[in-house]
């Protein structure tokens, strides 16, 4: 066995590249983390199936690109237009999946005041159902006889499916010794913009205030005239929209997905949410970016095969010193 050697040379010589690509990855984590953190803030419940909401977004992106006639040669403006449409479609699809999840897997339990453990089990079950329906879509469509029309979308249900084209990157400007690409910039800016919009919505709008009120004191919120069922729906909707947008950005960078692609990304996003302070919107942003960058630095230092280990060691270390996360817990209290 080799001793674990720390490769500082590699880290320092690629420092700016690792940081920029880490930020781009972290931005995607952060957007998915928002879904976990908002639902937790309002229901004190971990929506385990949120990873599948993201996964459906990746397929919505992929299929939109195919459906719009994307080929290996699509590039430039046509490609940009395809991705713009795909993002809207993915946001809608993910939001619908999230709403369905709330309706089917949570609301019946919440209405009966079931213990939180029940909701957690329900969420895990829903997660399997959603991901396996994607993984068995060829069989499912065969049962209902749609195989011919949809064969190119449903075939190879358990294989990794990629975009038809390689996304060509363009170098824009240097930071240190790294040339920042258009894709880096699009992913980071898009994610930051969406998160800014969400943050402002939750802070300033009437409905956003309703969300914060339910998070801080559900009974008082009801006394103010807040319909908590609508608020819960709204948090799932917003979480779904963000996850869908994240899914498109993820496809732009990674280019491929699978029926179980949500799992590891979901775990990372959840880690980011806990790291930043679960229930705290800005915490999700900070947690995501820190995690993305730390993963890149860590894997440069000790080798990429340790990437996931780095992420979770970091989580443990942060929670040891700050048990409520970097920015502290809660959608309401003192922070948002």
């Amino acid at each position: 066995m080799h001793a674990l050697a720390l490769n500082f040379d590699f880290l320092f010589s690629n420092f700016s590249q690792l940081t920029v690509t880490g930020l781009a990855l972290g931005a995607v984590y952060a957007m998915v983390a928002l879904g976990y953190t908002m639902v937790y803030g309002v229901l004190q419940l971990i929506n385990f199936a949120h990873s599948e909401v993201f996964m459906y977004g990746t397929f919505a992106t992929l299929w939109t690109v195919y459906f719009m006639g994307g080929t290996a040669h699509t590039s430039g403006f046509a490609l940009a237009r395809m991705f713009a449409v795909a993002m809207v479609v993915a946001m809608v699809v993910s939001a619908l999946v999230a709403l369905l999840l709330e309706r089917v897997a949570y609301r019946p339990l919440l209405r009966r005041n079931s213990p939180q453990l029940m909701a957690l089990i329900s969420a895990i079950g829903a997660s399997f159902v959603l991901s396996e329906s994607m993984g068995l879509r060829d069989n499912i469509t065969r049962w209902i006889g749609l195989n011919d029309n949809f064969s190119r979308y449903v075939s190879g249900a358990r294989d990794t499916r990629g975009l038809p084209m390689d996304i060509q990157t363009h170098k824009l400007f240097p930071i240190g010794n790294y040339q920042v690409t258009n894709i880096d910039l699009i992913v980071i800016c898009c994610a930051l913009l969406m998160m800014l919009l969400l943050d402002q919505f939750v802070r300033r709008s009437r409905l956003g205030r309703g969300i914060r009120a339910v998070a801080q004191d559900p009974e008082s919120a009801a006394l103010m005239g807040v319909n908590s069922t609508r608020v819960v729906q709204l948090t799932f909707l917003l979480g779904g929209l963000m996850a869908g947008a994240a899914a498109t950005l993820y496809m732009l960078r990674i280019g491929a997905t699978r029926f179980d692609a949500g799992f590891i990304l979901g775990v990372k996003a959840f880690t980011a949410a806990v790291m930043g302070g679960i229930g705290n919107l800005r915490g999700a942003l900070v947690g995501g970016l820190v995690l993305g960058v730390a993963e890149n630095w860590g894997s440069a230092l000790v080798g990429t095969q340790w990437k996931d280990v780095v992420a979770f060691v970091l989580l443990v270390v942060i929670l040891l010193f700050r048990p409520t996360g970097i920015l502290g817990e809660s959608l309401g209290k003192a922070r948002v």
Binding site: R209, R212, A213, A222, L223, M224, N227, S330
Partner: protein, 239 residues
């Protein structure tokens, strides 16, 4: 009658918190419920607001049966509450809390709405000094004022106040009670729950005594403050 409660029973599991309670609240009056700890006063108010499920009985507000109307709809009908323990939103500023009070209103862009802010600031000048302070950092008395002000921001026809004087210094208690009288003078009907029975009875038009979930005595505030049994049980030596 603005509010009529008829044969109300509420359970927590198998425990009966209130049993067959009936009373009514006349428009423009202060009605008070007094009683020992655990008598069921808070439960009664929460049930009127819709936070607790009715096992039996009805609640009629302004002629409309609201027994099964969800709480957020009752706010729109004109019932608002300043809950026990204040229930302010700790992470919001004073202004945002007051704004939450008006959540159900549709006229939030109008002058009437801004006037209501002014009305609350007039009743509680302390809140105006602290509009931008995070509510969680207010003192207990200030939080109480905020909870009451917030309840008024809904522009209710009936406001339910659950122990507004709890934990306050004697001078502040005086102030709170004169504010309650002022709220009545401005035309809002008040249903008041109090431990501070002497003060509550002095201000109340109608009063009911609750004992282990049942109403055992009713009368005008004056009648009950003269009642020997009430004196012995709730007024102690301080009257």
């Amino acid at each position: 009658m603005l509010l009529e409660v008829e044969g109300l029973c509420v359970n927590y599991g198998h425990i009966e918190a209130i049993r067959d309670i009936s009373f009514s609240v006349a428009e423009g009056e202060i009605t008070t419920l007094i009683g020992a700890n655990g008598a069921g006063k808070t439960t009664t108010l929460k049930t009127i607001s819709g936070l607790r499920k009715v096992r039996e009985g009805r609640i009629v507000f302004d002629g409309k049966d609201i027994t099964n109307v969800p709480p957020f709809e009752r706010v729109k009908l004109g019932i608002s509450q300043s809950p026990e323990g204040r229930g302010i939103f700790p992470g919001m500023t004073v202004r945002e809390n007051l704004d939450m009070g008006a959540y159900a209103r549709r006229d939030r862009k109008t002058a009437a709405y801004r006037e209501d802010f002014d009305r609350v600031y007039q009743l509680f000048p302390r809140l105006q000094e602290r509009v931008s302070q995070t509510a969680g950092t207010l003192s207990g008395g200030e939080q109480q004022m905020l909870a009451m002000g917030r309840a008024l921001m809904a522009r209710p026809r009936l406001v339910l106040l659950d122990e507004p004087s709890m934990g306050l210094a004697p001078r502040l208690i005086q102030q709170i009670f004169s504010i309650i009288a002022e709220i009545k003078a401005q035309g809002t009907t008040v249903l008041l729950v109090e431990q501070n029975a002497a003060q509550a009875l002095r201000r109340a038009d109608q009063a009911h005594v609750l004992e282990t979930g049942e109403i055992v005595r009713s009368g005008t505030g004056e009648e009950l403050s003269g009642d020997e049994a009430v004196k012995a049980a709730y007024l102690g030596g301080d009257v």
